[in-house]
Amino acid sequence: MEISTHDLWTALHGMGFGALFMLAFSGALAALYRTYAPVSATPPNSRAQSLLTLYLVAMVVLAWLTVFSGAYIVYPWYRAVPPVGITDLADFPRRLLLSSGKTSEWHNVGMEWKEHVAWLAPIAMTMVAYVTWKYRRAIAQPQHMRTAVLVFAVAAFVATGIAGAFGAFLNKYAPIRGGHIIILMEAEK
């Protein structure tokens, strides 16, 4: 069982940071809605509020790790330019997708959308975490700030969903290959 360094970074970007961030949304949205409900049956105590803030800060860290690892580690491999005369484009995912009309829109729509929209998520979640930390339970009072926090949290979720879904499809049609091989396990003969 072996894995290349490029595969490993791609998995870490998408399934490590990205998927973990995506999974965290279910808890965050439920907690934010419950905390900021106009008439909350049981207002959160100080400990619960601190845990929510910590949870959101962890999400912010994951969100920034996801976009930076994607843009600066994985994306350059995706858009690598093949040397002149190369006919096997397996190691050049962008060119591989663009080489056929059946796959080109995965790049023109999928990657072009994913690479930009994903950056909305860390910006939005940083604001959500900051406002939650700054106002703690007091934010349950004014409805307008609460609305902004919930809208931006949902927008971050949507942006992450778009980026994650296209990331999975792109890696299916044009996986990122190459790099050094790391042998994880070897079968006994």
Binding site: R79, I123, A159
Partner: protein, 122 residues
């Protein structure tokens, strides 16, 4: 429903307990400005070759690195400036929210390639 909740929801500007709402409003509006900047810069990098070229700070990543770097600078700078102006004030959050949501909508729309293409007449 608690009457104080209703009053808090309808009257503006509304304070958040002992803390003024200005710092929160600054963060919300800055997030909207950052989102709009992302959309506008994404479109600019895609639509105009000259801008795309000038936005190419780091070649392995192409225009993406500069679009996102400039976006982050605009977002953080606007947050800093707004926070300086509003940190001790209570502001009208409804107007801040509307502006922030418009910015968010611009960001979501202009990062969607078919909308980019439509604007460029492709």
């Amino acid at each position: 429903m608690n009457i104080s909740h209703v009053q808090a929801g309808l009257s503006e500007p509304e304070a958040v307990g002992p803390i003024p709402n200005g710092p929160g409003a600054a963060a919300i509006l800055a997030a909207g400005i950052g989102s709009a900047a992302l959309g506008i810069l994404s479109l600019a990098g895609d639509a105009w070759a000259a801008i795309g070229k000038s936005l190419n700070f780091y070649n392995p990543t192409g225009t993406l690195s500069s679009v996102t770097t400039v976006t982050i600078v605009i977002w953080l700078a606007s947050w800093y400036i707004l926070n300086l102006r509003w940190r001790t004030k209570n502001v009208a959050v409804t107007r801040v929210n509307i502006s922030a949501f418009i910015g968010l909508a611009i960001g979501l729309a202009l990062t969607f390639p078919p909308v980019m293409d439509l604007i460029q007449g492709k």
